[in-house]
Symmetry: C2
Subunit: 479 residues, 2 copies
């Protein structure tokens, strides 16, 4: 018996042929090409047989179209039976006739057209039992009109991340996140920054030694870099002047919160300035405004898709951004009833409250706090020239959470050694870093941005794991 | 006594003032602004006092200008003494009058103008003894006309990398390398790829378990990813369709060669295709051609600077690129006297020879070898459909060295488990990877490119450490 020519399983596609066939993208289908025959590839999203008919929804990323197979002169019952039995999430090739839909197809993104199916071949079969349902994983949080909240919990999602990522929301989140990186680079390349790559494996635990992962390195030991901090500064000392780097950053903190991971992506930059670190702060301010503008314009569709599942208020920002000095912030918090010292760092709760106070007063979700207390900042932070209780350092906030920390750095080796000792760190452990400043170095400042935090807070999401492809925390190393 | 107002040391620039002063870039100086007074900031590159005059060369990255200070009505002897004593590599601010040079200044990049110095302030002082001389580190290899080869050896360079990086050649190398990344991304974004970030800390040693670094992970153990391979494939299984990622890649190989490092930068991509992996090979082919073209055009000046110190032949490539099947390559090598089996991998020596044979025959430094023997490739490689001695896999070569390896991957979980077992790997260790293919997956192919190898070979350099900012090898973890 000949193999069926209208339906069946393809053998594993092993590149044995190069057919002339063109696969039409689902999003390109519209009534202008009605009555033409097309080939499509997509996943069987939903399927329902009814008498001599079978309806199924074909999904291609966030786009869906209704397909209809009816027993007729050219379609026999065995074909209907075969198609009805295809498991959801299987990848199929379909040949079909584009039809104008008799009435709008509410359940699909393609509402004006449907496909009258002629041929169906399974390209890659899915197991029939799914650990999570794409439809459940796509439901708005807190339930929608159609019923109670039967969403999928976070661990089930992350345990089955490949399936979970197929929801329109997740695909949109990661398209937008890739946009953050691209907008970051575009803005900095325009300002004559160059991209560098700094080592992740380092000889001694930088920044004091806490919270680092240890690596077996041949017969010795090494550590994973907590940031590219020291190396981007060394690039400035090497006359690179303006550098940025995007890469993995590691923190061995046993923090199990909505905003901590043990591995995340750092968007880092460092820049020589002439006389005042506000030259750098201005660049950073422009950088963020250009990222927010770019996201709002270029990723409008993605933002809409994401908000349907995870509702949030549009992200508001000013141009130029709001800047507050630390003492102003302390005054605002005290006025709201918070008791705190002048030189105390902002707690997470106080950051949140500050975000609300600022939003109420200035109507912005983004702001800069300058002039942090000296004693809450790392050893390499330049003290304020007029009041040594403060420092030339700043944090940037989105919706009341810190997303970037930065400062003018100490570029003078004598002052640096003095501060390293004050912080009770052994200068010998930072020798090659200190050496970088022995042969003259431009004054410089910079900052480190958490990619996932920017994405999470721009979208008003509640957990950083939603914006990490394969998140890592103290309890999760897989998939 | 008042501080000198014409010369002296600035205090450490701590952002105490925001002067209106504009610093003019050295490269912007030309005779059109002669007789104007400008402020410049740069390093004292060379200095020489002679009677009542002092000459010095001011350097700003690769640009240099001659400065002249003469005792006069406004300049006293003590100023001359002060300036003469400034150590080389110190960063200084100069106020001076732009003068048309009486004769071309051969020793500087600015040959038509010089500066008559009015004021000099040291911004950041260098120690007077330098571990290497920038001039020595900038000399053409093998000696130049002016004398014997008194270059700086590799270890001295790397031990003092911040100083070494200040040479015009090194600054140009890293500008060009940042261009490789940007051109890679631009080409792929045009082809609708999105950027992802894959975890570097992984639960089990992928790809068999050899050559991985172990990490202490809280109370357990983890490993550093040898490539983003498994994760970029999982992104394809999650319907991302076309992804790229740039990030650190770790190899615990005790290889001390000119082209191995324990940490390097991987430019990785993975792409779903319709029927044949050559759809992906075509994208890769276009990608490289567009990188090579972009470098040749946008980094012409950098390439010239680098060639002055490290002479090399211009990099030649064809469009589309030359493609050879493995059996053709074996035939070429045999004809040249090499004895090898049909299914034997290319040794480093044979790769080099092949590069020469191809260059002689086809006049290209870049070519693709398709259809590698099945048994020399990793477990996830798709076998050739017609001859199971071969596979749907390819390597890309530049000047006779491999810079990218890639293949169609096995997207069928049954076949994948079969091949994992054949390779004597425990499937349990790859469970979450295998799971990724259980719910339907597009056929896909991709590749992993070594950023540093591409840069090294495009420029015809002899050691990968020359193109790594802070290289890591079994013997080097600092700076």
């Amino acid at each position: 018996m000949d193999p069926p020519v209208q339906y069946g399983f393809y053998p594993v596609i092993q590149s044995s042929e190069k057919p002339e066939r063109t696969l039409v993208p689902v999003k390109a289908l519209d009534p202008s090409i009605r009555e033409t025959v097309v080939w499509l590839r997509g996943r069987v999203h939903a399927i329902r047989a009814k008498g001599k008919q079978c309806f199924f929804v074909l999904r291609q990323q966030q786009y869906t179209i209704q397909c209809l197979l009816s027993v007729s002169e050219t379609v026999d019952k065995s074909m209907l039976k075969f198609v009805s039995s295809i498991s959801r999430e299987s990848l199929v090739d379909i040949e079909g006739l584009v039809k104008k839909a008799p009435k709008p197809v509410e359940s699909c993104t393609q509402t004006d057209v449907e496909i009258q199916v002629l041929k169906v071949f399974v390209v890659s079969e899915s197991e029939s039992r799914l650990p999570l349902q794409i439809e459940d994983a796509s439901r708005p949080e807190g339930g929608d009109e159609s019923g109670p909240d039967i969403g999928v919990n976070q661990d089930t999602r992350l345990d089955n991340r490949v399936l979970d990522l197929r929801t329109p929301t997740n695909l949109a989140i990661f398209r937008l996140e890739s946009g953050v990186c691209q907008l970051f680079r575009e803005a900095l390349i325009k300002e004559e920054f160059i991209e560098i790559h700094t080592p992740k494996i380092i000889a001694t635990a930088s920044e004091g030694g806490a919270n680092v992962f240890e690596v077996s390195y041949f017969k010795g030991k090494a550590y994973l870099a907590q940031s590219p901090q020291l190396y981007k500064q060394m690039a400035v000392a090497a006359d690179f002047d303006r550098v940025f780097t995007i890469g993995a950053v590691f923190r061995a903190e046993d923090s199990n919160t909505h905003r901590h991971m043990t591995e995340f992506v750092g968007l880092d930059l460092e820049m020589a300035f002439c006389y005042h670190y506000h030259e750098v702060l201005d660049v950073l301010d422009r950088l963020f405004v250009s990222i927010f503008k770019g996201l709002s314009i270029q990723y409008k569709e993605e933002i809409e898709i994401i908000r349907r599942q995870y509702p949030s208020e549009p992200f508001k920002f000013l141009e130029p951004s709001l800047r507050l000095d630390f003492p102003e912030v302390v005054a605002m918090l005290r006025e709201a009833g918070v008791e705190m010292d002048d030189e105390e760092d902002l707690t997470t709760a106080n950051e949140k409250l500050l975000g609300k106070l600022v939003k109420a007063k200035y109507d912005t979700d983004f702001f800069i706090v300058d002039k942090f207390p000296y004693k809450v900042r790392p050893f390499y932070t330049m003290p304020d020239p007029t009041n040594n209780k403060y420092s030339n350092s700043y944090d940037f906030f989105m919706r009341g959470e810190e997303i970037m920390s930065g400062a003018q750095r100490i570029h003078d080796p004598k002052l640096l050694i003095e501060k390293i000792k004050e912080h009770e760190i052994d200068p010998a452990k930072l020798q090659s870093y200190i050496d970088a400043f022995r042969y003259g170095c431009s004054p410089h400042a910079g900052g480190g941005i958490g990619l996932e935090r920017v994405t999470m807070l721009f979208l008003g999401l509640d957990n950083i794991r939603k914006v990490s492809l394969f998140p890592r925390d103290p309890k999760r190393l897989t998939p």
